[in-house]
């Protein structure tokens, strides 16, 4: 069964450094998402992406964050200058469509630790 994959599984970085989290969505899916979960808190929506554009973003997704689909398979989340509070598990997801009934399929997550 096709799966969403994410690399790396764990990333440790110093405050102020740039990080890029990578995701490979399911191949026939057209909509891509990033969520994050700070330890002990809810899974929170960050951004959705379709047709090479952001289609929706949350208030968390400020100018420090950006997303890109650099080629036909990867979907990346970049944090330009990491802060301590960016430490979280970051989940990528994808769906075939963006209907409200559509299932989003999640990757295993990248644990980001900012020191």
């Amino acid at each position: 069964e096709p799966e969403v994959t994410q690399t790396p599984s764990h990333q440790v970085t110093q405050m102020g450094q740039e990080v890029i989290l990578r995701c490979v969505p399911i191949s026939n899916h057209l909509y891509f998402y990033w969520y994050r979960q700070i330890l002990g808190q809810k899974v929170e929506f960050l951004v959705s992406f379709y047709n090479n554009e952001i289609s929706e973003k949350s208030e968390i997704f400020d100018d420090q964050f950006s997303v890109e689909r650099p080629d036909g398979s990867n979907f990346t989340l970049k944090i330009r200058s990491t802060k301590l509070e960016d430490s979280a598990m970051y989940f990528c997801a994808s769906s075939e469509e963006a209907l409200s009934t559509d299932t989003q399929y999640f990757g295993p997550g990248t644990r980001l630790t900012v020191l």
Binding site: E3, Y33, Y35, V43, F45, F91, A98, S100, F106, P108
Partner: protein, 112 residues
């Protein structure tokens, strides 16, 4: 704004016990409701979803959930849990936009 509440943060059951995990949402319009499960060390997987029709939906691994519109609830049930059901369970809602709004999750521990 939409929100989802899961009142049970930790649940401990013995094998063969019945399970019910509560989920309430706040949104006045049409919603679509999901339960996801995260087994230890694994990614979020869809257990079941409701979008219309029969308010009692059946999912994988013997789970079911009942949508009660008047109570804004979508509780997850399983008549007899197994040790392998040990996991974290997340209720989520979507209301026409793309984002899922999640509850805080319930950690279930099933003792053999």
């Amino acid at each position: 704004a939409q929100s989802v509440s899961q009142h049970n943060h930790h649940v401990i059951l013995s094998e063969a016990a019945s399970l019910e995990l509560g989920c309430n949402y706040s949104y006045g319009g049409t919603v679509n409701l999901f339960w996801y499960v995260q087994y230890p060390g694994q990614h979020l997987q869809l257990l079941l979803k409701y979008f219309s029709g029969d308010p009692l939906v059946k999912g994988i691994k013997g789970f079911e959930a009942e949508f009660i519109k008047s109570k804004f609830s979508f509780n997850l049930r399983k008549p007899s849990v197994q040790w392998s059901d040990t996991a974290e369970y997340f209720c989520a809602v979507k209301s026409g936009f793309q984002k899922l709004v999640f509850g805080t999750g319930t950690r279930l521990l099933v003792s053999p």
